[in-house]
Symmetry: C2
């Protein structure tokens, strides 16, 4: 992509409303627009590329544990939410409105009602279970206060997975597989993650865990054991020593990026989701649900990976692999060669802009590798990684090989 | 995918509410669920795969004409729609509701307001133009009567592209490029398409065209010239001879799947979107918008491609490339070999089901190629195309080669 043609260039300064680091950097670097209205954002082309990479990582890990992707609607009828007794009790509340037939609808913040109703009609027997279904879909929350850019919004994409089982033992087993998949997703996005016990809130169930991604600017604190894998929300735990192995605990800052719940029969009972067991008896289906907010995860990546000059994207979710800058010499040929080799390139081809501005923009945008061609680099290319300070001169062939090896690594 | 594990198997009969062929077949074959409430549907895993293929075709053709993908939100504030004077005048009307701050919001049926506001803030000079931006996004229409399954709904995914230009001449040029891209999209989805002049309705502008995909079950009629490329809506035209070349015209049934508009300065004026021209003068930006409904397109494919036994998916949008059936012999090895070769396989591995049911389900689901292994096929595989009646016996290697050649064709 030629930077001269890209919609959503860097801004001189972040919007006044931006308070968190991620909000400042994502808007100033041209990944998201300023808010359209409280807690509602457009993703600009650069930001949408990062979103799509995060989405694909999540999709791959959900498919790897045998989940099937589908799509449920945003619009949902009141009747379903009355069955689950949540029409009046969700917090943050539902957006509610009437259609032209005077029937109440909501735009869903979550899909336990819709999926349980669907499964109730399609699942007949124990042979149809277990079953895991997910979608990556636009959701809505009537928040009183939205803040922090993409960290707390009123409209957001969520990957929500729902699983259905004959019994709690099978749910337990799958719950652990999802937990492992979540750790893999967050690890691929560049995080160290702690899984902690959580309160299940308006979703319900009595077993629930949150995934806390370590991040110095995080609002939450996690107390953990450096020896075994024990961890807990610091608010909820004032433990001085690890309850598992008695090692002295440590406390770190973190941001919550995933929440999983053993719903058991909470929704299947209310919505009538049964199966026939091997003996011919009618039994309630047991279920779990598992969520990750994609925009919040993107913002958390920036909270955890930046310096005073800008974002430092992990390779896995960077909008492009390399940021090519040409100074006083033509860069078009190298740009085309890199694209031909299958490398994702953002090419700063602006002629009227100084080297200093180009370098500052590259640091702000945060693509992992910066390539410079100039009258000083001769027939070579200067390679510099965003997270490092040293540079090296490489041939085009060496650049391509290095990038291709990284991609398949 | 093993059919025994697939969520959303075939039904014995379509739901009573289904009137159109596409609604009947898509629900009975397990592509979509019955409606959750009027005009609101879930896509089951099979249907979601078709959706994703159509989405990718559209994305490729949009990118090929230099458009950039982004994402705008569904929630939109009243103020923007008052600026364009459409808050009270859209038809079908907007869904409107208040948030907890008593501020009115809508969930958008279209994005002229949001994109023009965005462009007004980012575009400064003639150097930033032309510009083409699109998203593929969930939209909402407060229809009084929704009907026909995915053909007329209240919630739907739309690809909406918006273009911005210095003048009408440049808009004209891009408008023709979009028209060509649309014909390519519909051709890749298996259609012959006629582009006809249209009324611009609540979107506005005075130049507008619809893309009519020929289909015997279509509600619309198109009168066209078999010699030159002239075509018009039959309702609007009672021409007995082609006005361009005087050849006798023909009339065919069709379904509208795309609508493009030269908005010119309708929205840029109301939302204040200007640029500075080469001479330093402030001028209004000229714009166009271009839409395709993805669910409606999927339903139209089925309307155009089916027989009395079920759907006949074009290869480009089929949920899988082959439907493998094993009768009285194990099929697992061939299934794995095909998957290993990168072939998309739906494998009917059900043991308790008769050959007759498996064949009927394969015809209903409509995957382009059916492969059968049985005690009669020996070490070969029976190849049968859904649209043809003859069969042939091939080795696994021949099957793989044939499918791979098709994919790259």
């Amino acid at each position: 992509m030629r930077y001269s043609l890209l919609f959503g260039k860097t801004l001189n300064r972040p919007p006044k409303e931006a308070e968190t680091v991620s909000h400042k950097l994502l808007t100033q670097a041209g990944f998201i627009d300023r808010q359209l209205t409280a807690g509602i954002y457009s993703y600009l082309p650069l930001g949408w590329r990062v979103f799509k990479k995060i989405e694909q990582i999540i999709r791959e890990e959900m498919n790897a544990i045998g989940s099937q992707e589908l799509l449920m609607p945003a619009l949902q009828p009141k009747e379903l939410w009355e069955k689950s007794d949540r029409w009046d009790h969700m917090d943050p509340p539902l957006f509610k409105f009437k259609d032209r037939h005077e029937k109440y609808l909501t735009i869903g913040p979550t899909h336990e009602e819709v999926i349980t109703d669907l499964v109730a009609r399609f699942v007949k027997s124990y042979k149809d279970l277990p079953l895991a279904l997910y979608h990556i879909q636009d959701k809505f929350r009537n928040e009183m206060r939205s803040s922090g850019g993409l960290l707390r919004v009123r409209e957001f994409f969520m990957k929500d997975l729902y699983s259905f089982h004959t019994d709690e033992k099978d749910l337990d087993k799958f719950y652990l597989r999802v937990a492992a998949a979540y750790k893999k997703i967050f690890s691929r996005c560049g995080f160290e993650t702690k899984m902690v016990e959580a309160s299940s809130g308006p979703i319900g169930g009595d077993v629930s865990h949150e995934f806390m991604n370590l991040c110095e600017t995080g609002e939450d604190s996690v107390v953990y054991c450096p020896k075994c894998d024990w961890a807990a929300n610091a608010e909820k735990s004032s433990v001085a020593k690890c309850p598992k192995c008695q090692t002295a605990t440590k406390v770190v800052k973190a941001i919550e990026n995933g929440h999983i719940f053993q719903l058991k029969t909470k929704y299947t009972e209310k919505l009538g989701a049964y199966y026939i067991d091997k003996k011919g008896n009618k039994k309630l289906i047991t279920s779990g649900c598992y969520g990750i907010g994609l925009g919040r995860l993107m913002a958390t990546v920036v909270e955890a990976h930046h310096d005073e000059r800008g974002i430092i994207w992990p390779k896995s979710v960077a909008p492009y692999q390399v940021h090519l800058i040409a100074l006083n010499v033509p860069g078009d040929k190298i740009y085309k060669e890199l694209e031909k080799a299958g490398i994702e390139v953002l090419y700063d081809d602006r002629e009227e802009v100084s080297a200093g501005v180009k370098f500052a923009d590259a640091d702000l945008i945060g693509i992992p590798v910066r390539l410079v061609v100039s009258d000083k680099t001769g027939d070579k290319i200067e390679w510099k990684e965003r997270a490092k300070s040293q540079t090296e001169l490489l041939t085009l062939g060496q650049v391509v090989d290095k990038l291709k090896n990284e991609k398949t690594a």
